[in-house]
């Protein structure tokens, strides 16, 4: 874990003091809402549908038990006893009073947390693979890189008022769990011979015009990270549009100018300024890296774990879906699903947060991770401790064995909370989860992702089944996209046809699942594999069985 220095503590304290004064000036009327809005956004404060919302950064998704307990305390003391983990490794508190936010931020600072740059047109919270520092398939822990980027980008004067927000993600594995291709810049740690460096992607993003990131550099030496990323930001600041916020993200600059022209400009800028970094960034990186030394792993027999797996089918089901191979012998990553059937995806109560903190302390080397898929991970659990850990999770309603299955959905807050939303997401997710609960194991791996508006916080473009909530003629309407994917074979889903009314979207998803089960070649062929093999036609027929579209498709076949 990164440990705050005196400089970090002083910086966050000063920033909180400054924002406290800005809030006071807003309440006194000295600042208008137009003047205050960019200031509050830079500090993670939104005004949502029913209340203010405070978005707190969980840098690269890493928490320790003290931080998780502090989030629980904040939820209890200043909110309504819960928090919502988001698709960018943040936590959102949905009900704070503006007057309480300075105290909430001071409380966060006590454990080295803040809400700086979780909104606004700046470099946002840097995200990373949620299995960082633990996965068996990892080349290197991406978190020191992410922390270096966080420190470099925090309050960076040149990038404080970009044309639009800028999102960075880092992965240290050959398996992309960080959705690198949907970020403005995606960095994948790779090896070239004996040297370690980064594969650099640029220009990815979702929203109303989804685009996958393009390869900017196949190999960037590790030491060149900051001058190179700074060059990308400078080119974006120069070429990015400021006349139209809908075309201001770097993906549009890449699209309009072409990746070769962007590369040429970035490389030219990089060669000019590389020498100016003079090695200070490497010193900081080395210090950061030392903070992320792996824990001392224990050695213990696995008899109790294996016996429990043999004798307890509920435990076995949990271990089948919620575990991921760890690099240390005898250890496993445990994903704790925040998707109990019928619950709000990504929500955790203060009681659950405290339990997770206790479990991390007792069984998990004091570490937790938050995934962009809105789950909590205990990254270092010895399998001999799993039976006891599972029993406590189960008692707290946190042992849902559905990771990677249909009910393990991503859903944005939608119109239940978000001022930008055009339809609700949460009740759709709740209903789908309940509906598919009895057959999701038969269905197998399936990513359903739901957004309540075109901004795509729910990553619907990347869902095997994507659902986008819109308004149509004064009513909620839900469009379906199929074939999207967020991993190594990333793809933007294909829109199927007209939207479905609120009360028709669940039956439509049900028909899709029926069709898949009938069409799949074997029980092992996943929904995505079947879709890629068969194309959209049979799934469109299932979605629109009585329409002319279906008739035409049938005729054409």
């Amino acid at each position: 874990m990164y440990n705050y220095t005196d400089f970090d503590r002083a910086f966050v304290g000063q920033r909180n003091h400054q924002f406290r004064a800005q809030i006071a000036r807003r309440i006194s009327g000295a600042l208008t809402e137009d003047e205050f809005k960019p200031l509050r956004l830079m500090n993670g404060v939104y005004l949502q549908l029913h209340a203010y919302m405070l978005r707190v950064a969980i840098p690269y998704g890493t928490l320790n038990s003290a931080q998780m307990r502090k989030l629980a305390e904040i939820a209890d003391r200043w909110d309504k006893g819960y928090g919502h983990f988001t698709t960018r490794q943040n936590i959102q508190f949905n009900w704070p009073a503006l007057t309480d936010i300075p105290d909430m931020l001071d409380a966060l600072a006590e454990v080295g947390m803040h809400a700086i740059q979780t909104s606004g047109n700046c470099v946002r919270n840097v995200t990373a693979d949620h299995f960082a520092g633990a996965a068996a398939d990892e080349i290197a822990d991406p978190r020191p890189t992410a922390e270096l980027l966080r420190q470099w980008s925090t309050d960076h004067p040149e990038f404080a008022f970009l044309g639009r927000k800028f999102k960075l993600a880092v992965s240290g594995s050959t398996v992309d769990r960080a959705v690198l291709q949907a970020h403005d810049v995606g960095l994948q740690i790779v090896r070239q011979g004996n040297e370690r460096g980064y594969r650099v992607l640029v220009g990815g993003g979702l929203g109303r015009t989804p685009m996958l990131g393009k390869l900017l550099r196949a190999f960037l030496p590790e030491a060149d990270l900051l001058p190179y990323v700074e060059s990308i930001l400078q080119v974006f600041n120069t070429l990015g549009r400021r006349d139209n916020k809908y075309k201001a993200r770097i993906k549009f600059a890449v699209h309009e100018h072409g990746i070769n022209a962007i590369r040429k400009q970035v490389e030219a800028r990089f060669s000019q300024q590389r020498h100016t970094f003079a090695g200070n960034d490497r010193q900081v990186y080395r210090r950061i890296k030392a903070d992320f030394a792996p824990p001392v792993f224990k050695d213990a027999p696995l008899d109790t774990y294996e016996a429990e797996r043999r004798n307890n089918p509920v435990f076995r089901a949990f271990t089948d879906t919620n575990l991921t191979p760890h690099h240390a012998a005898g250890y496993t990553l445990v994903t704790v699903s925040l998707k109990a059937h019928g619950q709000t995806p990504g929500d955790a109560s203060a009681v659950q947060m405290r339990l997770l903190a206790d479990l991390a302390q007792q069984y998990g080397h004091d570490e937790l991770r938050i995934s962009h898929e809105q789950n909590v991970i205990l990254p270092h659990v010895h399998k001999s401790d799993l039976p006891a850990l599972f029993a406590r999770l189960r008692h707290a309603g946190l042992a849902t064995a559905n990771v990677g299955l249909a009910s393990d959905m991503i859903a944005c807050p939608g119109m239940d909370y978000c001022a930008l939303a055009t339809a609700r997401s949460i009740p759709i997710a709740q209903q789908i989860a309940r509906r598919l609960q009895t057959r999701e194991r038969e269905v197998g791996p399936l990513k359903i992702k739901i957004s309540g508006c075109i901004n795509a916080c729910g990553h619907h473009h990347l869902g095997h089944i994507g659902i986008l909530g819109l308004e149509k003629s004064g009513k909620e309407s839900y469009q379906i996209t199929l074939g999207g994917d967020a991993g190594n074979s990333a793809a933007i889903g294909e829109r199927m046809g007209p939207g479905f009314a609120y009360d028709q979207i669940i039956p439509a998803v049900d028909r899709l699942i029926d069709a898949y089960l009938e069409l799949r070649a074997t029980a092992e062929e996943s929904f995505l594999q079947a879709y890629r093999r068969l194309g959209s036609a049979p799934f469109k027929r299932a979605l629109y069985p009585e329409t002319r579209l279906a008739a035409e498709l049938c005729h054409a076949l």
Partner: protein
């Protein structure tokens, strides 16, 4: 014959609490039913410019109807704003329990 224009209410969010408030004619209120209904667009726009803004963030007009003499928003977004989220009984539903 052209469709009659709907009535309108004036709504905003409270400056410090952030919750949804409605202009009742003489003060901002939490209760959507107490919202003043404007029959004329001209009067509604006039009120939008004249109401006290000190505690109201982002005031705007929203279409509404009168049911038993009380205002009820027409658009589903405004209906959700008047009720609170659907996943928990927080917001307006919780307040209603205490009335």
């Amino acid at each position: 014959m052209s469709k009659p224009k709907p009535l309108q209410i004036l709504t905003a969010n409270h400056l410090t609490r952030g919750d949804v408030i409605y202009w009742s004619g003489h003060k901002w209120s939490n209760d959507p039913a107490s919202a003043l209904l404007f029959c004329s667009e001209e009067r509604a726009k006039e009120a939008l410019n004249q109401v006290p803004h000190a505690i109201a963030v982002g005031p705007y007009l929203a279409p509404a109807e009168a049911i038993d003499g009380k205002a009820r928003p027409l658009h589903f977004r405004e209906i959700f704003r008047s009720l609170g989220p659907s996943n928990y009984r927080h917001g307006k539903q919780q307040e209603a329990r205490h009335v």
